[in-house]
Symmetry: C2
Subunit: 245 residues, 2 copies
Amino acid sequence: MEIKKIPNLSVDCVVFGYDTDTKSLNVLLIKRYLESKKEDEILVDDYVLTGYHVFENETLDESASRVLKELTGLTNIYKKQFKAFGNPDRLKNPKDLIWIKNENFNLRTITIAYYFLLKTEDVSIKNNVYKPKWFSINKLPELGFDHQQIILEAYEDLKIKCLQDPIIFELLPDKFTINDVQDAYQSILGIEIDNRNFRRKLINKKYIVSLDEKQVGVSKKPAQLYMFSKDVYDKMFQKNYLISI
Amino acid sequence: MEIKKIPNLSVDCVVFGYDTDTKSLNVLLIKRYLESKKEDEILVDDYVLTGYHVFENETLDESASRVLKELTGLTNIYKKQFKAFGNPDRLKNPKDLIWIKNENFNLRTITIAYYFLLKTEDVSIKNNVYKPKWFSINKLPELGFDHQQIILEAYEDLKIKCLQDPIIFELLPDKFTINDVQDAYQSILGIEIDNRNFRRKLINKKYIVSLDEKQVGVSKKPAQLYMFSKDVYDKMFQKNYLISI
DNA sequence: CTATAAAGCGTCATAAAGACGCTTGATAAA
DNA sequence: TTTATCAAGCGTCTTTATGACGCTTTATAG
């Protein structure tokens, strides 16, 4: 059975991975490389997001999940479709034209951009055929197509979203310390938070559940471990309609 | 010069219009009607959003603005791209198939959905070739394609957005009373707000500017008129990073 | 056994939000 | 001219959330 691709429609996936140890929000990218055989000249040498054409028989969401699974092997990862990119000139800089010609792409391609949230360590980049690489959101390499723009817009959306919804826990391990959560917020938002106030605020939330466990293998006073209870959160459904304009 | 349409890509526009008098949030829809000539049977009789195929040489944003302008004559209206809809089966219920065949549409069409915010009275629906009609968001008619879903998702996005950004003023006339703003919030969010507290809060905002003018032609104590100063708002740029999870 | 540094508790001040009583004032009806 | 009406608009009190910051606790390294 042959699967038919829609030639002018693709999904692109911004895979955000948070590393609790280095406190770094990272993006997973794959290399794009092409050299001229005659002249021994490097034509394309940069990084891009993973993406692929949408198949005729799949939804956009399925398409994005498929791309993520092929890259990482992971399923059931937090996913958000955040924007469609489709300017007529979005793939028309010289390097992209060379690349597209090489890959037989269609010129005017609309891409539906998604972002995913996971833990950096959950992806095994060793022995991965795509040779993906993590880059800190603050130190992105040279990017192909309009992928820099896509990543930055995904990041902006993520910043707003993490203030409203408990998506921060998608980036953290199941068991975490209060400081882990604080570090994650600080890394993503680029702000400093007072630890004592943050601690009080979080501990008072009913959906932040204290475990009978502490950190092990740390050289300082070990911290209390907590988990996030999505059940409790959903039951509270604390849509506090606070008009903050 | 011929303009080439992209056959499988369209934009759809959810036009939200707020009516200050009736305190109603409305959606602008156009009728879809088709009857069988032989059997005198009504094949399609419902409403749809305005939308059209994207042209080869225009951006998605331009495409949406073009559709809005053709329908309403208006430009420079608040616009937001909020989601792409592209399920393989999104246009496959019987009525849509009949309609599509009639209109020579492509089957698997991805649509980039936008919503616009304006005042109901700014659109002249008399003598309009599209015969558009306003429907309250709470009393939508039977809708074609997947347009009910698109409208409801636009509405959800609008609800969240209006809590964070001063887009409420896109829906109100330039000069408004405090109660106008409150009514708009109440209509959109479906909540009750205490007038005295709301009034205090709003009047204290520096970007809510009191005018030397009052309501005229009302049979009760006329209310003070205000305007929204986007300049002041932008200068403050009060991105209060309040983590409200 | 002592220094270290993070974990964690407590206090105070300030600001925002919610509840609600009461006054003001323009108009229409008496 | 007076009076009833009703929304506009002001003020007060309480509660809660937040921010700033001092201080104690505790496990480990040296």
